[in-house]
Symmetry: C2
Subunit: 128 residues, 2 copies
């Protein structure tokens, strides 16, 4: 989360991410249900970084099992690029989410995620 | 989840729920941030059962640590009562969520939860 997402260092993808990365659940994510290669994972990163160049995850809580880690997080960022077909709003977002990371061969092989999209839609002015 | 929420048996609250139950995170839940007594927990149950008398949680995945359990679930139900100040829509909902249950003295002492409210708002016709 810190090196890849917060520091925007896509060069670290191979270090942490399995070459087959499955997005088990992530509603409205264009890649939901798909299994991504490293290249596709980097494209997905870039898609997010374009929309929110300063996006930052603060991990607030974590629990772990042998093959899984669940984290709660607060995402902040400024919408400076296209998202969901909408032009940039220049507005700031702050929202909560929970992600379960799945591990395979000591690498992160996928995730199951839900986050508070209502709050984001309100902050960007898409809904009242 | 099965006995209390799915079977709507609020008599089982004392068996599973700590007398101080804290809702750490549950956006838009009227009780978010509060610590509930058993009586208040039952009132919150009734609030949900009134809105969705047939509400049902299907647990799809779980991971556990000593003092915490994270579960992913699918909630289904029919909106036959007031919710968020809106009259009943008679519409069905189906949505995903992740809950982390916190344990204390072998009882569930609280939760941290995020669920897909956008999908529910669309299914009830509150947003397009």
């Amino acid at each position: 989360m810190d090196e890849v997402w917060n520091q925007k260092n896509s060069g670290k993808v191979e270090k942490y991410i399995h070459s087959k990365y499955t997005i088990h659940l992530d509603t409205a994510d264009p890649w939901e249900g798909k299994t991504l290669t490293h290249l596709e994972f980097k494209e997905r990163l870039q898609h997010s970084f374009n929309a929110f160049p300063d996006m930052h995850f603060e991990i607030t809580f974590a629990i772990e099992e042998e093959k899984h880690v669940a984290i709660t997080w607060i995402l902040t960022g400024t919408n400076l690029g296209v998202i969901g077909g909408f032009p940039p709003t220049n507005k700031k977002i702050k929202t909560n989410g929970i992600t379960i990371y799945h591990f395979k061969e000591n690498l992160i092989s996928g995730h199951t995620q839900v986050f508070d999209r209502v709050t984001v839609a309100k902050q960007l002015g898409f809904v009242k």
